[in-house]
Symmetry: C2
Subunit: 233 residues, 2 copies
Amino acid sequence: MITHLLDAGDFARAASTGEAVVGGEGYRHLFRARRLATGERLRLVDGRGRARWAEVKRVGRRDAVLVLGGEAPANEPAYALQLVVAMLRPERAAWLVEKATELGVVAIRFLRTARTPRELSAARLGRLERVARAALVQCHRARLPEISGVHPWAELERLVHGQGDRFFLDPEADPATRLERRGLSGTVLVGPEGGWDATEQKTLARHAVPIGLGPRILRVETAALVAAARLLP
Amino acid sequence: MITHLLDAGDFARAASTGEAVVGGEGYRHLFRARRLATGERLRLVDGRGRARWAEVKRVGRRDAVLVLGGEAPANEPAYALQLVVAMLRPERAAWLVEKATELGVVAIRFLRTARTPRELSAARLGRLERVARAALVQCHRARLPEISGVHPWAELERLVHGQGDRFFLDPEADPATRLERRGLSGTVLVGPEGGWDATEQKTLARHAVPIGLGPRILRVETAALVAAARLLP
């Protein structure tokens, strides 16, 4: 089974007309690389959580026509998890985006901390978005995670406001406090390799529950993934 | 705090004499790169689960002498988890070894399946072992995971024999069956991208409990990591 990601606008148009014309890169992927043929079925998603079945009606030399069918499974978890993570080196950020997308995270936001004053260029952000798109298609999700940053520390309160359960990873946390879902959405804040600094720690303690992940010191992206694997249903 | 990994033999000698002489690569890392000085404390581990405190007694131009102190925390989880994973492409295998080492897995064994007839050269196995060493030091474990393979399918029974709880990942598994610790050790078997073939599935069902990880299709290394994150305490 193949999942194909349309722009939200194209998906909405297709949903209203009952047909979608696929050209360009999507055409090359589906009809050259994957060799989809007339009559075959695929799953269309809009990157915002909607999914429909579709059938190939006609394959031309430069584009193809799909006819839309009924609703398809969204394959989205029943918990909206946002990760807010101290900015990482590009290669590790890309791994985190790929894996967090597969796990079903709805947002990955990179945070500037005192110990990670890193930047994220538009080109690198674009690369991370492409990684998320590829992972969505591969794992058959329907919703693309939002990827944003680097957010200055001052935006922390805005980032976690109204986001449900709030946790921050802290090696000094009481091991009795468990990382578990309380509501339907939540945020996990993951600090840099050197840990949060004292001022950050104080601010965090006002906004979120400290959680430890055991005695080993996990890399930033490992800690974020472990938290997601344990929280997501 | 610094963790330094000694050969098990060197560790045993140091433990009996109360002193360790560090030269070569270890010397360059500790005393050039990390700039440890006389009087400073570090943690020595033997890669087999033992850990001792040590203090720098003398730093020479080519080697240094450490004096051993009391037992240090091993930082090992109270569950011995073995991952048996369909052979992966080298980059993804390396990533899995790094993350699984951080999480506290005791063995990562690569398996040849009908859909992944890949080999693992001695050079690549050596590279994976170096990745595990680096991860051990970085996360402050005491035990190196065993890395082995590619094991032929015929070795499956031997690999899981006497290894405690046994699970295999299977997208068709009853969602009510939970991945949870029953004893003090266990094995999780993770199939290739295309899934186990019918014969493999039958053999597995005789040896292990099928477990699903939800509706999304996870990559092999993601699935292995999610299983480890959920099983390990």
